[in-house]
Symmetry: C2
Subunit: 362 residues, 2 copies
């Protein structure tokens, strides 16, 4: 089948670009002796997780237990839940997972550690735990000075296997001078945490971190020995805006059809917030995607089914019925909206993958 024959909107993955992205990060991780545990939230497809494992990934990362269950189909030797698993149903599911593969969870409270411990004991399994610290994002993670106390708690609780430290420097938005300075601060914070843990007899086996903008600067955080990037498999407009990839490294685009040109200097495409990500660029900058056929087109706003594209600055026009390919701002959110995605090479559709872990909320 050819791309032009697809019904729109359709999410396309350029297979050659994807393979190059996967290989590049696998090589970077090998070169710097970093364990690679890719986050599956970006693709949500077991076949792609399997490819990541074939290329040397040590395991997989997921946010939700229900996602992790789907990913068992990729036979990961190791699964990290990079999210506090709270609530009896979820911890029970976690314990069941631990019967199928090696499981580790990130958490940032004694309450969470106790809950996971209870489920591990009840399920007669061992669950690995990483203590999560906040290195500047202000989301989850205890302050660095409380890491030893949390690690001690984890070490004491039955059924838990203390594995080390985790953090997410999501506040580092690009690798300009400010970004590099922020990354140096992260490096210092993490090194200090590791020293504190060593002094307390709790030397971390795993120090897990990394974020997309800083992906290829991960080696600058000297104590870190594991990265868990997600977006790198496809990249998106955010990744480009962060300076972490070029346009030709974006494997993802959404094929859309022009459905109306009634308003002057504007086209409406058949995808809005039900099809694209509503994320704005964290680096600032306008628009919800890049129209590949006309970079001066601005995807200014969206309703559920309508994408508004301003063509005032464009050097070409579009007709009703024409197709356009748009690189979304945030691919992870976009993939979650699609039942299936299409692997393409040139103008041919070579793969159709169901997004099997789509919409797994629990």
């Amino acid at each position: 089948m050819r791309i032009a024959e697809l019904d729109t909107p359709a999410l396309l993955i350029d297979l050659d670009v994807m393979e190059r992205n996967l290989t590049r990060v696998a090589e970077y991780a090998r070169e710097h002796k970093l364990r690679l545990r890719p986050h599956i939230k970006t693709h949500k497809i077991p076949a792609l997780a399997r490819r990541q494992l074939e290329l040397g990934a040590a395991g997989l990362t997921a946010a939700k237990t229900t996602e992790a269950e789907v990913m068992l189909a990729a036979e990961p030797p190791d699964m990290l839940l990079a999210y506090p698993v709270i609530g009896a149903r979820k911890t029970e599911r976690l314990a069941n997972l631990a019967r199928r593969t090696k499981v580790t969870v990130a958490l940032d409270s004694e309450e969470a550690a106790q809950e996971v411990s209870r489920a591990a004991v009840a399920g007669d399994v061992e669950i690995g735990v990483l203590a999560e610290t906040d290195v500047g994002l202000g989301r989850v993670g205890i302050p660095p000075e409380e890491v030893v106390r949390l690690a001690e708690c984890i070490g004491r609780l039955p059924g838990l296997r203390y594995e080390g430290l985790t953090f997410y420097p999501g506040h580092v938005k690009s690798m300009d001078e400010n970004g590099l300075a922020a990354l140096r601060t992260v490096d210092e914070t993490v090194s200090a945490c590791v020293k504190d843990l060593e002094r307390a007899g709790l030397a971390p086996r795993i120090v897990s971190g990394g974020s997309t903008p800083a992906l290829f600067h991960s080696h600058l955080v000297s104590a870190m020995n594991e990265i868990r990037p997600g977006t790198y498999i496809f990249n998106d407009r955010n990744t480009f805006a962060c300076g972490a990839c070029d346009w030709e490294d974006c494997a993802v685009s959404i094929l859309a059809t022009v459905v109306s040109t009634s308003v002057r200097n504007q086209m409406i495409i058949d995808g809005g917030s039900k099809t694209f990500s509503q994320d704005r660029l964290p680096t600032g900058g306008e628009g919800f995607g890049r129209v590949m056929e006309e970079p001066e087109a601005v995807f200014t706003r969206m309703n559920e089914e309508h994408g508004f594209v301003d063509l005032s600055r464009a050097s070409r026009t579009f007709k009703v019925g024409e197709q356009a390919r748009v690189i979304p701002n945030h691919v992870c959110v976009a993939v979650n909206l699609h039942e299936q995605v299409y692997g393409v090479r040139g103008d041919r559709v070579e793969e159709i993958w169901r997004v099997e872990a789509r919409g797994k909320l629990q």
Copy 2:
């Protein structure tokens, strides 16, 4: 099952509130002799569409042909596609639908009319068409002065049944003085269009319009004889912000669990952009939802799985593991993210509905 036993995040529908909302609008439509053709995009559930029909709706409205196919299960006597159906696969699907029920489509270009005509002829069916005009939103719809030309084109094409006029006053955001003035302008524009059509011998049988903020002022648009509201079944934070409902008319809330309180004056809940709508309030105003337990909590931002709730102004605290119910900004977008929703009465879960038309993009 009790609500507290649900795994989170979970989308709850208060059944009593929903029934009251449905009845109120059905009565309003009857009182003002308005045809009611509810938009199913809000619930995406055939069982709820059936309830709308039982209460007197003349038919249903959908945005996509794939949604309309799912809604055939509700046995609608009449189905409106309120979106330009462009592309051979979609028009063929439309023609197939026309074999199962009476079908009408809204469109705003001669290209679209020709495509639908070709599919109707090929499928040996008749498809109703409404000419869409822009009354101020600047999205789809030809300028009012071009309506007669489009209607003439529709009237000439084989396989099409010219039905009349449609518009969407989505630029009217509230019923304050400015909103009422805008609605008067809509009334004048629509009346002028209808007169033009009558003069051209193309008197519209249907004049379809309406929007959520102006729902209970629909009778002020004198030429309009059909409304197609969606959100009214559940209502949401947008509806409240527009002044079109009270909090006790919001049937929807998302049950979430607190997963981290590591950052002072903040809680993280287990739902973000994969669970809630990322829509901001069109009326301005901060936040992504209303925390029912603490109205002074501000849902400031979100990542895919993390909802950031600022508690600086709150008079209470939340503990890890506690549950909270949050009314989303835009319920239609939120429902599309959930595999199933839960109908509740008091603290009991009485219904579990699969969101059957979820993620239908084509």
